[in-house]
Every structure is written in C-alpha cells, then in structure tokens.
C-alpha cells in the first residue's frame, strides 16, 4: 500500500514536472492595465511595455539597452537628411502575412495620422520611399542624427490585417474611439495576444514562428492589473503572481526579507513633474476670473518653492526617489550637471512671490492627478496640496484612475496636473520636443499639456534635432534647460526608482524606461 502511494505520488510528480517543463506560465501583475492593445494609441510606458512584446519596431534595444536591429537589419545615412533601412526578410505577422515595406509605409501613415499618440516618433519624417519590398528610404525634414533611436517607439502593424479589421485609424481614447486593434493584435513580436479582458486579465502565448531567438523560457504570460497596493503585495507574497510592478514603497523591506522573493531596484528614466495651464486667458478650474495666474512666472515659481520635495522623498517615497531640477535625469544625453540645483524650498519666499503677483491671500484651484499610474501618485498630489495650502492656495484634488485621467488631461481639460515622462531615445530631444516645445504639427508639444511656450526653446529644440556636434549640442540643450528653469515652465519633482518584485527563480531584464521585455524572462 505504502509503495503504491509512493509510486503514485512519484508518477504524479513526474507528470507534473514534465508538464511544467512543457509550459512555463508567467503571471505578471501591475497597478494598472494597458488601456488598449493598439500600439499607436497611447504613448504611455505600461501600454508600451505590454504591447512591445506583441508588436515590434524597426530598431529596438537589447539586454544592455543598446540599440539593436529588430525588423530592420541595418540602416545608414546616405545623405544628411536621407536614411536607408534594410528590412528583415522572412518575417511574418502572427496571422501568417509576410512583413514588407508596404507595412512600414502603412504604419507610418497610421502613426502620423489622426488620433495617433505616436506622432512624435515619426514627426521628423518628410517623405517615405519604398525602394523594394525589403528596403525603404526616409527623408527627414532636417538632418536628424538620432532617427534610429526615435524609431524604437514606433511599432509596425500589418496593412492587410488593419484594413480587413477596420483598424486603419488608431484607437483614440480622447474621443472615445475604439476599434478591433483595441482588443485584438497582430504583430511580429515574440508573443501573440491570446485573450483580452480589459481591466481583468490579458493572456499571451509564445510565438512559435518568431524570426529571432527567444532567450527566455516563458510559454505563456498572464497579465493582471491589481490596483490596490496591499492586494497586489498580498498576491506576490502568497505566490499568486510571479512578477509585479511596482512594489509599494512601504513594503520593499517586507519583500526583501521573504526568502522566496527578491526586489529589483534601479533608476528609472522617468521624471515626475507638475504642469500648469499657461495658455488660456482664464483657467478652467479656478476661482480667479478674467485672468490666468499661471501666465505669471512668479506664481509658477511660488508653487515650485512651496513644495517640500525632500519631505515628500523621505515620507511619501521612503527614499525611493531622487529630487530633480531638470525635466530629464542624469542618465539622459544632454543633462546639464551644473544646473542640478533645485530652487530652494522656502515658504516665505513663495508667499512673497504670490503677493507680488497680486495674490496675497492665494486662490483656489483644481488639481488633476492619477491614482494608479506612478509610484504613490495620489499621495504626492495630496502632499503638494498640503504644501500649497501653506501659501494660501486651496487645492481641490481630483485623483482618479488613469483610464479616465489620461483622456481628460490629453484633451487639456485641466489647469494643474501631474505627469511623468521617460525619454524613450535616452536623449534630451525626446523631452524637449514633446514636453517643452510650443504645441504644433508633427507631435511637437503633444504632451506639453499646459502649453508652456518660449520661442528660443522652440528654436533650440529644432536645432538640437539636427546638430551632430556633441559639444555644440550640449551647449544648446543647456541653454534651453536654463530658460525653462528660470521661467518655471513645469515643476519637476523627482526621478522615481523602479521597484519590481518577483520570485527568486525568475531571471529578467529591467530596462530603465520601465519596459519589461518578456522574451528575456526565464523561470528556473
């Protein structure tokens, strides 16, 4: 009897281990969900992180975050404004259609067209020419040396599939437009979308016909959004999920002390900042009528100086943040080390500035804030509201989930908001162009939601795009940083830290832009 039981359980064990050797399922949890599966609909890290495993750009990044070929095998600049990209042969989309130059042209038109959130990635292109099925030529408006870096954020879609599924235009959440690309996907990536239940669970399976080598051993990925911090940490502790991002800062020690779990911490390229509506003549959500207090740099400076960033770092972020004075961190090309000093935290000075600007007793203002996007986002906003109360500014805080938050602020339906930005090219231009420039054509100023505007900064941004001399380029960037700092175009808060929690047996690659490439994940 005993031997029988033993034998039975051994068989069961053998079957189990054979089964687990066959199918490795990775359960990933995040504080929010990707808002759609469309790779051109929202330029947000989490959405990119998920969609990046299904769709691919021409150029991507490798394990070490260096540029590597993806759907293009090589590229070269044939003239200052002309680039030739050789496309990879023998690549098929998940539905079997071969990938060709026509798909690149289609993806360009889609990403540059109406409703796309990715205009910034293709905004430098003036013309696109098909040389043959596997070679393509881009003509840029001005010489643009970092075009390959910029292309890492531009995903390729199948022309045939998009046309057949009425998904020729991107999903536009701002206008509430959804289409098949929201719920289904057909990319060339290492994983294919199997089942999508928005807000509940999304399942992906390994693409057996992938053109490259998938280094990891994961066969199936189950992605689950768990908004509540304590529920998410409980899921990791109980073994319900294998990887989760982010660990609530208050629970880092607890995860570290658990023998089955580990924490991967690293600097994230993301800078969290506050933006202010500087365009409208009257703020949408304030008790100041007939004028816009944010048009006065002294008011913006007063807000800046009223924020006690060090206490936010120690209390709200528990040290997992680096207060910052610029709109991009030191890892990004173009950072000016000599401009690293923040304006001092000084309540008296802030009060004085506010009085000089004509608001001695402050004013009332609504602040918009996400509550499930950045690390402790709503808590930071509450702390900022408390800080501002000390200089007489009464904040009505509206903290909400990103599903309603992003469409709202992208419509510019806000007076005072929070945003985080990662330079996907790891270059200052990818911050200056979408965030610091006056809103305009080709994705310019697309995420400059308060419409900060300075003619010289615009000029420098254009010049930086085509400048190849590093020294000259850095001098120009430094000048723009200085202007933006002096005018307080935005209020930079801090660079947040990446905090991923996972089981001990998981090996993965953590990119500093908070994107998780599943093809490198191994479960031992």
């Amino acid at each position: 009897m005993r031997t029988l039981t033993l034998r039975l359980s051994l068989t069961a064990l053998a079957v189990l281990s054979a089964w687990s050797a066959q199918a490795v399922t990775l359960r990933v949890a995040n504080q929010g969900d990707a808002l759609s599966m469309d790779p051109h609909s929202l330029n947000e890290s989490l959405q990119l992180s998920v969609v990046n495993n299904v769709y691919e750009p021409l150029v991507t990044r490798g394990r070490d975050y260096k540029l590597t070929p993806a759907l293009a095998t090589s590229w070269k600049q044939t003239a200052p404004t002309v680039w030739r990209f050789e496309l990879r042969k023998g690549v098929a989309f998940h539905d079997g259609t071969p990938f060709s130059a026509d798909d690149v042209i289609f993806s360009y038109e889609r990403a540059a067209g109406d409703g796309s959130d990715m205009k910034g990635y293709v905004g430098q292109i003036k013309e696109i020419k098909k040389i043959n099925d596997h070679a393509i030529e881009f003509v840029t408006k001005t010489p643009f040396p970092i075009l390959p870096e910029l292309f890492t954020g531009w995903m390729m879609m199948s022309k045939k599939w998009s046309e057949a599924n009425q998904a020729v235009k991107p999903v536009d959440r701002r206008k509430g437009i959804e289409n098949a690309a929201s719920f289904r996907a057909n990319g060339t990536g290492p994983f294919r979308l199997r089942e999508r239940q928005p807000g509940v669970r999304t399942t992906f399976s390994r693409n057996g016909n992938y053109w490259g080598k998938i280094e990891g051993n994961v066969d199936e990925v189950v992605f689950t959004p768990i908004g509540n911090d304590s529920t998410r940490i409980a899921a990791l502790l109980s073994g319900e999920v294998d990887v989760m991002d982010p660990i609530p800062v208050q629970d880092v020690e607890r995860v570290k002390s658990n023998p089955n779990l580990k924490v991967m911490q690293g600097p994230e390229l993301r800078v969290i900042f506050l933006g202010m509506d500087q365009k409208r003549d009257e703020l949408l959500f304030s008790n100041v009528k007939g004028k816009n207090p944010f048009k006065d740099a002294r008011v913006r400076k007063a807000f800046y100086q009223a924020i006690d960033i060090e206490t936010i770092k120690s209390r709200v972020m528990r040290g997992a943040a680096v207060p910052i004075a610029q709109m991009f961190p030191s890892q990004v090309r173009g950072y000016a080390p000599d401009l690293a000093q923040r304006l001092p935290y000084d309540v008296e000075a802030a009060k004085k500035l506010l009085a000089e600007a004509g608001y001695p007793s402050g004013f009332e203002l609504k602040m918009n804030c996400p509550n499930d996007r950045y690390v402790n986002d709503a808590e930071i906003c509450q702390a900022v509201a408390a800080n501002l109360a000390k200089i007489g500014v009464k904040i009505n805080l509206e903290a909400e989930t990103k599903g309603t938050y992003f469409p709202k602020i992208l419509r510019r339906d806000t007076s005072f908001y929070m945003l985080g930005w990662t330079s996907s090219t790891v270059d200052a231009h990818n911050v200056m162009y979408p965030i610091l420039s006056t809103p305009g054509e080709g994705g310019r100023g697309m995420f400059n939601l308060g419409a900060y505007s300075n003619a010289r900064v615009d000029e420098i941004t254009t010049a930086v795009g085509s400048e190849t001399d590093d020294k000259k380029r850095n001098t120009l960037i430094r000048e723009a940083i200085k202007i933006h700092q002096d005018e307080v175009g935005h209020i930079p808060l801090h660079q947040q830290a990446l905090l991923w929690g996972m089981k001990k047996n998981i090996e993965l690659v953590q990119w500093p832009d908070n994107i998780m490439p599943w093809k490198y994940i191994s479960a031992k």
Partner: protein, 280 residues
C-alpha cells in the same frame, strides 16, 4: 445606558469637533508631512502631540476620527431623513389609495430589493459623479446622501404600507370619511401619526446601516473627497499600510466605526422597547 452614553459622546464630539479635536485634519495648511506615519503616543517613536498616531499625510488620527465621525453621522442622519421622507410618503400613498398605484409602487420596491443595496448606491454615486464632473465638494456629499437614501427608502415604504392597510379599515378612519374629511387630510392627520411608531424604530436602526454604507462607498473610493476623509476613507488609506506594520491608520477608524454603529443600534433597540406599550 452605556450605548446612550457612547452615542452621546460621539454626537457631542462630532458637533463640537472644532473645539474637541486637537487639530483640524481637513485644513491642509495644518498638515505636516514630516510627521507622517507616527505611531500612537504609547509606542516607541510616538509623541503626545498625536495621541493615536498619524496617517500617511501627517494627519492626526484622533482628530481625523472625530471629524470623520462627524461626516459619517451627518451623512447617516441626512440620508435616513431623506429616505424616511420618500419611503413614508410612498408607503402611505400605496396603502391608502391601493389599486394600480399600490401595485406599481410595491413592484418597484421588489425590484429595488432584488439588488444589493451597495450595488445600487455605487451605481447612483457613479452616475451622479459622471453627470456632475466638475462638482464642488458640497455636491459630492449631496450625491452620496442621495445615493444612500435612494436605496434605503424601500423598507419604510413597505412598513408604512402594511400599517396603513390595517389602519385605514379602523373605525376612526371610517368615521372621518363619513364626516366628509378630505382623503389627503385623513392620510396626513389621522393615519400618519399612527404609523410613525415602527418608522421611528426602523429609522434609528437604519442610521447605523447608512453609516456603514457611507463607509463602504468611501472605502471603495466613490465617497467623500480624499482631502476630507471620512472613516471609510481612513480605513482604505490604512489598508495599504497593513503589511508594513503601520496598523494604527486602519485599526482606529475601524474601531470607531464599530463603536458608532453599535451604539446607534443599541439606542434603536432601546427605543423599540420604550415605544412598545406591551413591554411597559
């Protein structure tokens, strides 16, 4: 007696919150972030300034409890008053008029009862918020009160209808009708006073339910704004810190909620006994 005492203390503290509470937790200017997450005074690291510790924003838990209890009581009482008004008038109408009106109203009650109350309240609060996107803080309370009371009126309507059906066949009603008193007057002057006994008892018990519903809605994040936390909001905030050992943020508001609900309930029981002539 104990219940009455506790209820009295709660109500007293809430009414005079401004004088009783050490700080005003809703005044953002008084918050000190550097004092965030301090433990209660008797634990290591706690200070006498914050007897029950502070939350993640440096809010004094004791003051937040007192102010939070005020919100809970106000919302609880107001929504019970609204639902009594709605429920009693509809019940009276249904019982007195009978016929198709009775059928329609009672089927409506059945429909309302077939949904969990919290679900209906969530729906109304959600829709209300969507319709009033730029609502002022005051409006948020209005929406909350209405959403709770719209789920609570059914019980009153049913109780009152039942009693009205009994009362309207009694001789004094017949007598009034014979002498030519208008139906409206009979309803309000003769029947209404006689059906109010059970309603009063029900209402007291419902205050506790309404308080808990409010806390649940705030816990789920559709209640009062985060800058003026009620007990439910405090419990939710504290929930995130349970694993990291800062238990006081969630435990004290939870205890307070239990205490208020319990004392109001006991008060209701006592009232039922006091109003019941057979037990005297």
């Amino acid at each position: 007696m104990v219940a009455a005492l506790i209820a009295f203390i709660c109500i007293f503290c809430s009414v005079f919150a401004g004088w009783v509470a050490p700080t005003n937790p809703f005044d953002l200017a008084q918050l000190e972030l550097s004092d965030a997450r301090l433990p209660p005074a008797w634990l290591e690291g706690g200070t006498g300034k914050y007897l029950l510790g502070t939350d993640d924003q440096g809010r004094d838990i004791l003051s937040a409890l007192i102010y939070g209890a005020r919100i809970s009581l106000v919302v609880g009482l107001a929504s019970v008053i609204v639902s009594v008004a709605v429920g009693v008038s509809l019940g009276l109408l249904a019982g007195f008029r009978g016929g198709w009106l009775d059928t329609v109203l009672m089927r409506l009650c059945d429909v309302m009862l077939s949904f969990p109350a919290i679900l209906v309240a969530l729906l109304i609060a959600g829709v209300g918020r969507a319709l009033l996107p730029n609502a002022h803080e005051g409006l948020a309370f209005g929406v909350l009160i209405i959403s709770i009371s719209l789920t609570g009126w059914v019980q009153y309507a049913r109780t009152v209808r039942g009693t009205t059906l009994v009362e309207r066949h009694k001789e004094y009603v017949q007598a009034a009708r014979v002498t030519g008193v208008a139906p409206m007057r009979i309803m309000l002057r003769h029947v209404l006073p006689n059906v109010m006994g059970p309603v009063m008892v029900l209402a007291t018990i419902q205050v506790a339910t309404a308080i808990i519903t409010e806390a649940t809605l705030s816990f789920l994040g559709v209640g009062v704004p985060p800058t003026s936390p009620s007990l439910g909001t405090l419990i939710r905030v504290g929930n995130d810190y349970l694993f990291s050992g800062e238990w006081w943020i969630t435990i004290f508001p939870g205890l307070m909620l239990v205490l208020i609900a319990l004392s109001v309930n006991l008060l209701g029981d006592w009232l039922r006994d006091a109003l019941n002539p057979r037990l005297r």
